[in-house]
């Protein structure tokens, strides 16, 4: 019986104008957006390859370990074609500095910062706005329309029963809505395969299937919403307005208003606290180092000559020594021993403050989520961006990896004794025994043309395997994160379905 009803409903839907409109609109918009975002992805991928090669080359050209400041890049996620998320608004490169814990990827090396203000039009946007809209357009008159045409009484008089009738209408809505959705998604994938030659791995295919499923689930929410409205009121026009209103609330007004309202109610402390601390602590460290350094210089001057050719600044980590006598080299070694703990302590203090600030940002975000929790669009967004790896948390995990890379780098430096006994090799390219021998110094000085040939560029580059590779892989789809929002969407379907079902049982068919 259910199958007969289902077939009848599906056939009826397929013949309507709205189905044709849904099919054409979804298809055109999905193909355009996938096409253009595919191009965009290829451009960003090429840019990423170019920039990371360039960064690797720049690292290889460094001649003195203390001047190492590798840049690590975050590869764009191919699934970002379907859900751009925050990927373009957040930075995608971190400069690993010895005396700074990276708190975010600031360098956005590819995009126009002015465009961050405009949201991208991706598959997620098509699903959120258009599939949902057609979900209610398909079903708003399922019950009221039949009542107006007078067929509802006859339907209810059959043996099918209201329960089956309602279930058939629901299933037909979902099946019919899945046609344009699936078709356009598949054609988008075809475009990617044949126009752009973008290939996905097995895990990414699974994520794509999950996205598809999430799209259908989201569509089902609005099918049940339309049906619910249809069984709550008597006239089609009223049902349409009611469901449109709920649609606008769930898709546009609540998500947008929640961000505005929550940021107005739950204010953030200014980030200038962190910036001020950065300035203040730098001054503190410098004022602490300066007298001791001057003292050290004075002592060495008195003890015996200081003969330096190199660069030194106490404000920046890039100290190096091209040539000098043993007094100069020990001065630098002691300076490193003096500066390193101070700068590391400062970095830790700033990072603590940054972390506190980030916790407060998270608080505000939770507040926004609380405000927009009735909106299904929020959950849809979470599912898509966490599967595509373009949400804030994927970005944060990249920065976390950059931090681990930094502590790995520091670990290597420490293991090599760069901050204490081998500090001479850290700031220059001369082996310690050679640097600390007065005799060798005089020999070098006696070599004709030696002093003039000294420059940073003339030194041999560092060994390539000094630092491990960063191993930047695009972020993996995070399936666990998408479970809860999917469950909430399923709950919404169930809720609207049961309300509608109860209302339909009590419905006056006359």
């Amino acid at each position: 019986m259910l199958r007969v009803l289902l077939w009848k409903e599906i056939r009826e839907h397929l013949m309507t104008f709205r189905f044709a409109a849904a099919l054409v609109t979804t298809f055109v918009l999905v193909v355009i957006s996938v096409w253009v975002l595919g191009d965009d992805f290829e451009r960003r991928r090429d840019n990423y390859t170019k920039l990371s090669e360039e960064a690797a080359r720049a690292t290889c050209e460094v001649t003195i370990p203390s001047r190492l400041e590798p840049i690590v890049h975050y590869p764009p996620s191919p699934l970002g074609i379907f859900a751009t998320g925050e990927e373009k608004a957040l930075g995608n490169a971190v400069r690993i500095k010895r005396w700074e814990v990276p708190s975010e990827a600031t360098d956005s090396l590819t995009d126009n910062p002015l465009l961050t203000a405009i949201p991208s039009f991706d598959l997620l946007a098509v699903f959120t706005l258009i599939t949902s809209l057609f979900g209610i357009i398909l079903t708003y008159d399922s019950i009221t329309g039949e009542k107006e045409r007078g067929t509802l009484r006859q339907m209810c008089a059959t043996v099918a029963g209201r329960w089956r009738l309602y279930a058939a209408k629901f299933l037909a809505g979902v099946v019919v809505l899945s046609i344009p959705t699936t078709l356009s998604f598949v054609s988008g994938l075809v475009v990617l395969r044949f126009v752009h030659s973008i290939n996905f791995g097995a895990e990414q295919w699974l994520a794509i299937v999950c996205m598809m499923g999430a799209g259908l689930l989201f569509g089902a929410v609005f099918v049940t919403l339309g049906l619910m409205c249809s069984s709550l009121v008597n006239r089609s026009a009223t049902a349409l307005i009611l469901s449109l209103l709920l649609w606008a609330l769930g898709v546009l007004i609540i998500p947008l208003g929640a961000v505005s309202l929550a940021t107005a109610l739950h204010k953030l402390p200014p980030h200038s606290e962190v910036v001020n601390l950065q300035k203040r602590t730098a001054e503190e460290v410098i004022s602490e180092i300066d007298p001791q350094f001057n003292q050290m210089v004075r002592e060495r001057r008195e003890a015996g000559g200081l003969n330096i050719k190199g660069g030194l600044t106490t404000e920046e980590p890039g100290i190096f020594l091209l040539e000098g006598n043993p007094g100069a080299f020990t001065l630098y070694r002691d300076l490193i021993g003096l500066m390193e703990p101070l700068w590391q302590g400062r970095a830790a203090r700033i990072w603590n403050l940054e972390r506190e600030h980030e916790a407060r940002l998270r608080e505000q975000r939770d507040f926004v989520y609380l405000f927009s929790s009735p909106a299904p669009a929020l959950y849809m967004r979470e599912i898509f961006t966490s599967l595509a790896g373009t949400d804030y948390d994927s970005h944060a995990s990249f920065v976390e990896r950059a931090r681990r890379f930094r502590s790995g780098m520091l670990g290597i430096f420490r293991a090599k004794g760069y901050f204490d006994r081998n500090a001479i090799e850290f700031v220059s390219r001369l082996p310690s025994e050679e640097a600390l021998s007065e005799e060798k110094f005089e020999q070098r000085q006696a070599t004709p043309g030696y002093r003039d040939s000294l420059s940073l560029e003339s030194l041999p580059p560092l060994p390539g395997d000094l630092l491990p590779a960063f191993g930047a892989a695009p972020s993996k789809p995070r399936f666990q994160e998408s479970m809860l929002p999917a469950a909430i969407l399923a709950f919404m379907v169930l809720l609207f379905f049961s309300i509608g079902q109860v209302a339909f049982i009590r419905y006056d068919v006359r």
Binding site: N112, L114, L115, S120
Partner: protein, 467 residues
Amino acid sequence: MIPIAKHTMLQSLKDAKFLFLSCLVILAFVVNAFVYSENYGSSFAKWQEAVQVNSSELEQKMGNLQLFAIHYQKMYKPPSAAAFIADGGERELPDTWTVSAFVNMEPEKTIRGNKMLPLLGRFDWGFIVGTLMTLLAFLVSYDAVCGEKQDGTLRHILACPVSRIELFVGKYLGLLAILLLVLILGIAANLAVMLLLGSIPLTEGILWAMGWAFALSVFCLSLTLLFGMLISSLVSHPPVSMVILLVVWILITVAIPGIARLLGEQAVSVMSEFETSREIKAAEKEVMDNASDEAKMQHRDPFHKDFPLRAEMWRSMMAAAQRILDRSNETRLRQFEIVNAFASISPSSLLNSSLQEVVATGAPGFRALKSAASLYQQQLFDFTTRRDAMDPETPHLVYAHYTFTDWGVFSGKPVEPGSYPRAEDLWRAGGLPQEQSQPVWQLVIFLVLNLNMALAAFIALVRYDPR
């Protein structure tokens, strides 16, 4: 004509759906006033703090004109008090420009919002009118003609001594009147809340902006209303016209602006920060290579005392760098503006971009910041040159020579407090730029579109088969 208008108005007013939606719109206006009052207060305080820090840093350099001139100042764009009309992504756009007397750098974002929040759009007048009220306009007009046909009343009306033009104008005026009623009530509520909270200064400039915003909104609503009537008189069943209008509504409010970004990014390519810095290095190297051997030698040796050659080289190096920076900023801005231009096919985007023009947020606001930065740099340079001219002891070579300030390439006399130009003075109260633009062109475009649409809708009605 008048009775038809009255009848249409009354019918809509009696309608529950209309009342419901208009309450929603008015509520949206109230929320808008609340949100932007709160935000303006806090972002204004942040701005003041930043400006304070900048001027206290500048005051430390006032003992020496050279230090003063080469000091990198931060020029902050004041938050726009009129952002409630058109936000234009104020919180995401770069808001700071680094300026010294010799160079203005790349813009950056320093007064930050929460980077974790999704970028969805804004709850400004542009959204309320361009998105919510256009939906309202479509909802009141989708059955204006075909609904009457379905009810069978259209034949009766046409049988009366009422010409079709009277019917058309009457319907149009009636529907427009109720939309205006909602708009005016909304704006009144908006103003009331803002006055109550009192953190947004309702200066003359902002009141003017509100006036322009009202006029533009009326034209935009009238255009969507006419389009609704056109579709309504092209099809014979209200559900069909409803579906068409909803699809069109989605297209004009969401799809077109979104696709415009994608197209704009394809149409204009911008230089990345990385490429910019590489090009600057290359240009500086080129100047170096082309300089005379003597100048090169002087440049390498900081103790060389012959200034004019070195000054010449420094100046041309900085000019080359500035040209590249300007070009990179200009292409970015052009890409942004082209995205806006693509989007302006849709009336609600046209409304948004012209509102941004009025209140100087979004692309126009960024352009204002950019021109203010270069103006300020010019002012600082002129000030330095003027002060230097008063000092008889220098060779008057005003250029950015960083290493030794006591050498006297130009005057190193102290700067009197209050005598120098200040970046904040380039903005009017409420964060508006000195010259407020008036969107006459956009108004004319809206007018022409309205006339065309009215003609099309009228012709469709004349050809409509009322049976």
